[in-house]
Amino acid sequence: MAARLGLDVGLPLANARAICPQLRVFDADQAADAQTLIAIAEWCDRFTPLVALDPPHGLFLDITGCVHLFGGEAAMMRLLCDVLTAQGFAVSAAIAGTAVCARTLTRHAHGRIIAQGEEADAVGPLPVSALGAGETVVIGLRRAGLKTIRDVASRARHEITARFGAGFTSLLEQALGQSDAPISSLKPLPDYIVEKRFAEPVATEAVISATLSGLAKMLVAAMAQQGKGARRLEARFFRTDGAVRTIMVDTGQPVVRGEVIDRLFRERLGALSDPLDPGFGFDLIRLSASRTEIVVQQQRDLDANVHDNDELAALIDRIAARIGGRRVVVYLPQDSHIPECADLAAPAQHHLATAVQATWPARAEGEPPLRPLRLFERPEQIKVIAQVPDGPPARFVWRRATHAVVRAEGPERVAMEWWRAQGEMLTRDYFRVEDEAGLRFWLYRDGLYDREIVQEQDKAVQPNWYMHGLFA
């Protein structure tokens, strides 16, 4: 319609208005366009797992081996185009042996299906601009008098390469079906996929969870044949109106039991802050294992230690599925003497085995605890009165309460790691103190007198004191 009137991309707005006075104008929103394209690609995932974007408004689907599921190429293309047209999109589709050939065909006509070996004849009469090679190449070819793709193909390849580069030659060869390049799929191909299609869309929770447990059993059976277990699982819910929701669950160790998968998804679905919205129902539910590992069968110990570890890992997986993997942590010792860097919280799903075998520095026998039980991640500044400038504090104010120091021990001097570039940090003098109520604290003074805190001529510089931890 627009093309018939003579409107084209790049036309100045005033000219367009002159051609067509009743023109309605909208601002281009490229981000939204890209989002829509990705949403359509997600929906196309129901036809084949290999979907690639061809920006700004194209999609490649590798339908090798999927066609028979939809009753042949023509039926599949009709189904896809009908649904997209019903949604209000203008669709031009083609099926051919190579992706570039199919794209070239869509530029000219809708609905062509080209058998293997007939690509050159099909694209031959089309204009060179259909190749999608860029403005400069198209202008160059036109100036050389090469109007159609057949004209270009009739020239020797080395001439074309010398004039337009190797990239254009390979594009041409792909369009003619003489060579092929793989498409770069939007998502990595999952290792195992099981799915269930519904003639009537389903919306109730009972049916959805029953479907998921059935799919989990099928998936486990498929993986068991190759001795694999799933580390990452994906459930995809395809809504009738085209929206696709993906829910992902990670596990700490390969899962080989259907009930475990079922339970993990139930936890995950129950804890979604943005619950699954069935709308008018789902017509396809798919479960895939996107990361799998070979399962090593372990000898069960007599004292059932292995079993205990399995149960702990399963518990961690369940909690992580509900509240997130980063919220379940184990601690790993770090090679640092700075108190707040001495341990590192790592996700328990991935580091449980390491943490169980880690070696922590042993405590000094016969000594009271020298490190506090609770440590403030960010030390809190306090007001301190000390008898001598570099001595222990006599009284201090922390969180608006004054504490009188009854006993103090220190200083324990902790120098910063000068070999690491982390800005200028001052040496800390730590004191272990007990107040009149029996509470025990760990304080430090930031900076050494006379060396790091230099007394200036006329004004007195006070060092900062910080509360860093609380002893039991």
């Binding site: 702990l312 942590v329 108190p339 943490a355 009271p368 506090p372 039980l373 609770r374 991640e377 039991a472």
Partner: protein, 263 residues
């Protein structure tokens, strides 16, 4: 009273007794704390497979209560994993749990799995889940402040989960007042002074008050956590907080003798 009526009464009494003891029919295994008097009061020690509550009345006593809970956990489980559930903001309020501090108390940081929950609801749910997993030794649930969610129903859920699996639950409440619950024991813990004459001061000393005990009397003791032996003990002749440092020899000797007698 006729014989038939007596019989009926007796059978009724019997059935009431059975109903009453049904919940307590399990005979819990107990772990001695090490503190002789407290163990006598607790009839052998802290019950496994039950909930125990530890309260810190003010926020600044939080670390002390944490130490007490860590000590209890250390007594209750030697080799089994420990799950510690807490809310995000308690780290800002009373500090994060330090692994080196835990190791200094004689506990093993390798056995610890920490869950950082966003709110009380998810913390409760996670704790109930963890209590149902019998591979664990102890589950600690740390809750800051007064909460509506931690009512009798929630408490009952936790207790049932603990009974079913045999995992012990420790509920650490900071800046909160004790409320009715189904816990086996309830403690209020405050800091106590280090013994004044000792040069190696700073060992964790607790003023532990047992305010509820479902199966026995209550009491209040000064307990010292022995980091090397990993047990609670009575501090050697504990004087009153403001007592002068020296000149307590006779008293101290007496107390030592008493300790030997009991121990």
């Amino acid at each position: 009273m006729t014989g038939a009526r007596t019989n009926a009464l007796a059978s009724l009494r019997g059935s009431i007794e059975r109903i009453e003891t049904q919940g307590d029919a399990y005979s819990p295994r107990r772990v001695a704390l090490g503190h002789a008097e407290a163990d006598v009061t607790l009839q052998g020690g802290l019950a496994l497979g039950a909930m125990h509550e530890v309260f810190a009345e003010a926020g600044r006593q939080g670390a002390v209560a944490t130490g007490f809970v860590a000590g209890l956990a250390g007594r209750l489980t030697a080799r089994r994993p420990l799950v510690w559930v807490r809310q995000d903001f308690t780290e800002i309020e009373s500090g994060a749990l330090s692994m080196s501090g835990l190791a200094e108390l004689g506990l093993d940081p390798r056995l610890l799995v920490t869950v950082r929950a966003t709110d009380v609801d998810s913390a409760l749910r996670t704790a109930a889940d963890a209590l149902a997993c019998d591979a664990l030794g102890v589950v600690v649930l740390e809750v800051w402040g007064e909460t509506r969610q931690l009512d009798l129903v929630a408490s009952r859920k936790l207790t049932l989960a603990a009974q079913a699996s045999g995992v012990t639950g420790l509920l650490l409440r900071m800046a909160a007042e004790p409320q009715p619950s189904t816990a086996e024991t309830r403690w209020i813990v405050r800091a106590a002074h280090s013994p004044p004459w000792s040069s190696a001061w700073g060992a964790p000393v607790f003023d532990a008050q047992l305010v509820r005990n479902r199966h026995g009397p209550v009491g209040r003791w000064i307990m010292e956590w022995k980091c090397d032996e990993c047990l609670f003990e009575k501090p050697a002749a504990y004087p009153q907080p403001v007592a002068a440092a020296p000149a307590h020899r006779p008293h101290q000797a007496g107390a030592l003798a008493e300790r030997r007698r009991v121990g």
